[in-house]
Amino acid sequence: MIPAAFDYHAPTSVEEALRLLAESGDDVKVLAGGQSLLPVLKLRLAAPEVVVDLGRIDALRGVREDGEALVIGAMTPHHEVASDPLVQQHALLLREATRTVADPQVRHRGTFGGALAHADPAGDLLAPCLALDAEFVIAGQGGTRTVAAADFFQDYFTTAIDDGEILTEVRVPKHTGWRAHYEKFSRVAQQWSIVAIAVTLRSEGGTISEARVALTNMGTVPIRATAAEQALAGVAATPEAVAQAVAGIAEGTEPPSDLNGDADYRRHLATVLARRAVLAAAG
């Protein structure tokens, strides 16, 4: 488990990091928490010549408010996201999902931005960001651009971040007081989702007024369940009514088949888990 040799840089500002990326050509990797990148390097599935470590750029770490948005720095470790009071207040879904990631060690090293940039379809933070209509702030030599979640996740392990760019922060519209639940299905505690359902909603007097729902690992990118969201609006939070509203949630999806189950099984799971997630969120 020894990576091939590489040059290592640890810049202290985004500008310096971008300059290093530009100077290093194609064969460069950005290092965040290293929880996904280091195994890749150790197994020699990648052997970049240069690694640029973002760990010393303080500006990339932390959670703050900016008007109607909550801004989460890319280098904020999972455990800080999961324990942040602002996140709990304005984006409860993120907290619920982040708590299911791996184990305490990984949550102390792995970062919010690293997980999203990595864009593993089985990763647990993609669907919640999609459900919350998060926006991704990407910095490059030419300046900064903002990409909507729907456009950010492009394919299997592929995002809108281009070579030479860095994800600096994620802006999450405040969903203050929304209830939330992340229903993750896995075989052992320390495992990625076989399937998971992210739900955040508002309800009044036992009736759902508004819901946001997204699916983890049901395709190469997270999937927003718009039809289910519409069907849930105005529905009583009873098992029967919710089951009916989410019955078609897996229709048209093309989930993977692997050791944990085939596509049919995943589609079935999604339907069962969606009902449970909505009911749990509705409390």
Binding site: M1, I2, A4, A5, K29, Q35, S36, P39, V40, K42, L43, R44, L45, A46, D103, A117, H118, A119, D120, P121, A122, Y156, F157, T158, T159, I161, F185, R187, V188, A189, Q190, Q191, W192, I194, N217, P256, S257, D258, L259, N260, G261, D262, Y265, H268, L269, V272, L273
Partner: protein, 833 residues
């Protein structure tokens, strides 16, 4: 004994005390020496080039680029090394005509499994070695790989074309022939007429011993004696086997197992890596280290289990068992390791378990395939047997609509019937199945759970409840040498110990049982502290170095305490006898008038006395000893057990099955084990907990899966799911103590008990939850997807029985998410490029 001991070291009874382990401070903090921590001046490092193919002819190996790579000292192929060693050892030719392929440390002209070493790079640093392995190019001609066990049994094609068969050996035990019982075919025929016959095929999936510390070896050839440090369970066996295999004088070889981070049988081996490291170090005359990566450990460390069990059980309609026939296919994989061939044979004596079968026949076919070789894995043969019989008993109970506990009561050996000679020819010395079972039922709340099960069934609850039973026994404490001889095993089963009295009164205990996490240092100290009446802290336990512990047969088969511990007792007793002689002399008393208690010899009826430490000092000075006495108290003992030990217990599992998702949850687990007298309850508890999780892992989580080319798909812990504490509930454990009658401490083994017992308890529980829904069988591990599929086939009116071993294996879907594939990499490793 006087009430107050003026030395203040008078120990309380150590045996039975839950001492914290003295070795844990260094093991847990890592402030210790594992093999990979060892660094010697001028040390070189190895990198292995391994075959990506399961079966191929090697037509060319190009090493020039690797040789030119920075830091590289040499590159060797199989052809370079073959002359320096013989075939890697198999110590257990189970039949005189057993077939085995030649096994080189580095493949010479053909590879027989993916992961086999084809070349070795020697470099100045581990990284340079690793870099250069990527520059070695190997030309292969594909041969057809033999991957499926049942197809292999029918072969061709052959895993080793030269052998002309895939069958290594067939081993049979028949109670009618052995005179230990009657004819099983007659019993089955009879039952077909007026009783019941249960016929089943169970599958033991392939497992990987996932020890925490990957294997590592350092060899220093720069002194008169060559020294090898290795992460091994068996330094003594390794030394002998290396000497024989590599044609080195045994006296020129010293093997050290420093602190070793777990083994579970996976380090009970003479590995190609150890042999290669030794050969390279010898050739270059320099210290050499090889430490495997986790990926290498998973593909090339030996695997475990992998059997197909065809079983027939006959019984009367009243539920009295009358016969048991076992027909096994055991997957050897590509080669025969140290005891590969003997693992299924060890199970042969355990299928009848605690039940009074009058007739029994066991046949085992040892089959070669082009997969990683198998060998011992925690329990070795006995978990397979226990799984089979405990599942059969539950299946029989279901067939007869009888409570599974009731059925067992009708058939087990009653407490008053011990000692009892079984249909497999073993004499069980002791046991109390009634007591363990009664206690377990009470702790479990059996009746309440049965009522809850009924309620859930009636209300058609989406979550169904099942209760799994396993009333296991096992044979351990390997082993009486005569028995091993009768089974054609290549060595004996004794163990050696030495007790040394130091002049200061402190004690050194040398044991041939080589601990790799079990806590020997603590347990042996407790035994000796009690025996000699010295303080626990004053006992130092030394092991794992053939220069310190000169004789030994190491640690496996739950043998350390019941064999090695007894050797310690016998050596300590010899020390006491010598000391008594001196004490009598010094106090001018007759030996018969001396009492030894609390570490003191006292003269009966007087206040005269001497502590054993004082005697040790007197013997050291040797100024005044009995005539003709050697000036030493030190003693050693070699103990050959007269019998195996037979721990037993009753394990109960409450399993919840979510019928909507197939998810299985272990809600409650109760076990009452009888491991005889307990030296340290805390260590026993640890062994039971760890053992349970390992057995539960087979039932629910772990499985080595290969693709249709023979490439290991579960090549990382992302896919080979080893559970953690977070995946199991708190266990409710208790004990009964029925002493073994065949050793002076009354102890039995505990190292494998939990693993052996728990697997069937879990699977029985899962089936009990959904049997009424039409599911009769499930293949391990019982994954949510398999359980759900089984429930679906039932709903669609199909027979919901045995599924193929790995339904996913041949589906061609393996290359999607979650598993390693060239396009994708493992889950952790996809690039965000």
């Amino acid at each position: 004994m006087t009430a107050v001991d003026e030395t203040t070291t008078a120990p309380a009874a150590e045996i039975g005390s839950p001492r914290k382990r003295k070795e844990d401070q260094r093991l847990i903090t890592g402030r210790t020496r594992y093999t990979d921590n060892i660094t010697l001046p001028g040390m070189l490092h190895l990198g292995m080039v391994r075959s990506p193919l399961a079966h191929a002819t090697i037509t060319g190996i190009h090493t020039d680029d690797a040789k030119a790579s920075p830091g590289v000292v040499a590159v060797y192929t199989g052809a370079d090394l073959a002359a320096a060693h013989g075939s890697l050892p198999n110590a257990w030719p189970v039949t005189p005509d057993q077939k085995a392929p030649e096994h080189h440390a580095v493949a010479v002209d053909r590879v027989a499994f993916a992961g086999e070493i084809v070349a070795v790079v020697v470099a100045r640093s581990p990284r340079e070695a690793r870099d250069a392995t990527e520059l070695v190019e190997v030309d292969y001609d594909d041969l057809e790989p033999v991957l499926d066990l049942e197809a292999a049994a029918a072969g061709p094609p052959y895993a080793h074309p030269d052998l002309g068969t895939n069958e290594s050996a067939t081993w049979i035990f028949d109670s009618a022939e052995a005179g230990t019982g009657s004819d099983v075919e007659a019993a089955i025929d009879q039952a077909r007429g007026d009783g019941v016959v249960i016929e089943r095929t169970y599958r033991q999936q392939r497992l990987i011993p996932a020890f925490m510390e990957p294997r590592s070896t350092v060899v220093d050839p720069t002194s008169e004696q060559i020294t090898m440090w290795s992460a091994t369970q068996v330094p003594h066996i390794l030394r002998l086997m290396l000497a024989l295999t590599c044609n080195i004088s045994e006296s020129k070889l010293r093997v050290i197992a420093p602190d070793v981070g777990g083994g579970f049988g996976g380090k009970l081996q003479v590995t190609p890596e150890e042999v290669t490291t030794l050969l390279v170090a010898n050739r270059l005359g320099k210290p050499v280290k090889y430490t495997e990566t986790r990926s290498e450990s998973l593909v090339a460390g030996h695997h475990g289990r992998d059997q197909v069990q065809r079983l027939t059980l006959s019984a009367t309609k009243e539920g009295i068992v009358t016969g048991l026939k076992v027909d096994l296919l055991a997957n050897m994989g590509a080669y025969l390791g140290l005891v590969t061939s003997g693992v299924p044979v060890l199970g042969a004596f355990m299928y009848n378990s605690i039940y009074k079968f009058p007739a029994y026949r066991f046949t085992c076919h040892n089959i070669f395939t082009n997969l990683t070789w198998t060998d011992a894995y925690r329990g070795a043969g006995r978990p397979e047997a226990t799984f089979a019989i405990e599942r059969l008993m539950d299946d029989l109970a279901a067939e007869l609509q009888m409570d599974p506990i009731e059925l067992r009561r009708k058939n087990w050996i009653r407490h008053e019937e011990f000692p009892f000679t079984t249909v497999a020819g073993l004499e069980y010395d002791s046991g109390n199945y009634e007591a363990a079972t009664d206690k377990a039922l009470e702790l479990f709340g059996y009746d309440e759970l049965r009522s809850e099960q009924q309620r859930r069934r009636e209300s058609n609850d989406p979550v169904q409840l099942g209760i799994g039973t396993s009333t296991f026994t096992e044979m351990c404490g390997l082993a009486p040498s005569r028995v091993l001889g009768s089974l054609a095993y290549g060595a004996g089963g004794w163990e050696n110990a030495q007790v040394r009295m130091l002049p200061s009164g402190k004690v050194e205990v040398v044991t041939g049982a080589s601990a790799h996490g079990q806590g020997h240092e603590t347990a042996w100290s407790q035994i000796v502290a009690d025996r000699l009446g010295v303080a626990f802290e004053d006992v130092e336990v030394l092991h794992g170095d053939t220069q310190v512990s000169v004789k030994g047969l190491d640690t496996y088969g739950s043998r350390s305490l019941s064999v090695g511990g007894i050797a310690v007792v016998k050596a300590a007793d010899k020390v006491i006898e010598k000391a008594r002689h001196v004490a009598a002399h010094l106090m001018e008393a007759s030996e018969d008038d001396l009492e030894f208690s609390g570490g003191r010899f006292s003269v009966k009826g007087t206040d005269k006395g001497m502590a054993i430490g004082e005697i040790a000092l007197a013997v050291f000075a040797a100024h005044n000893l009995p005539d003709g006495m050697e000036p030493t108290l030190d003693s050693d003992a070699t103990y050959d057990p007269v019998n195996f030990s037979f721990p037993h217990g009753t394990h109960l599992a409450a399993m919840e099955v979510d019928t909507e998702t197939g998810a299985v949850k272990l809600r409650k687990y109760v076990c009452v084990d009888d491991v005889g007298i307990v030296v340290n309850p805390l260590i026993v508890e640890g062994q039971v907990h760890g053992g349970l999780v390992q057995g539960i892992a087979q039932a629910l989580f772990e499985e080595a899966v290969y693709d249709d080319q023979g490439t290991l798909v579960t090549g990382s812990f992302v896919d080979y799911l080893v559970p953690s504490a977070a995946d199991v509930p708190d266990f409710i454990t208790d004990r009964t103590e029925t002493p073994s009658t065949t050793n002076p401490l009354g102890v039995k083994g505990v190292g494998e008990a939990g693993t052996i017992a728990s697997t069937p308890a879990i699977v029985n529980g899962v089936l009990d939850a959904i049997r009424h829904l039409g599911v009769q069988d499930l293949t391990m591990p019982c994954t949510p997807s398999r359980v759900w599929q089984a429930l679906q086939s039932r709903e669609q009116g199909e027979p919901a029985s045995v599924q193929p071993t790995n339904p996913e294996q041949t589906s061609g879907n393996l290359n999607s998410s979650g598993v390693i594939s060239p396009e994708q990499g493992p889950r952790t490793e996809g690039g965000a490029s």
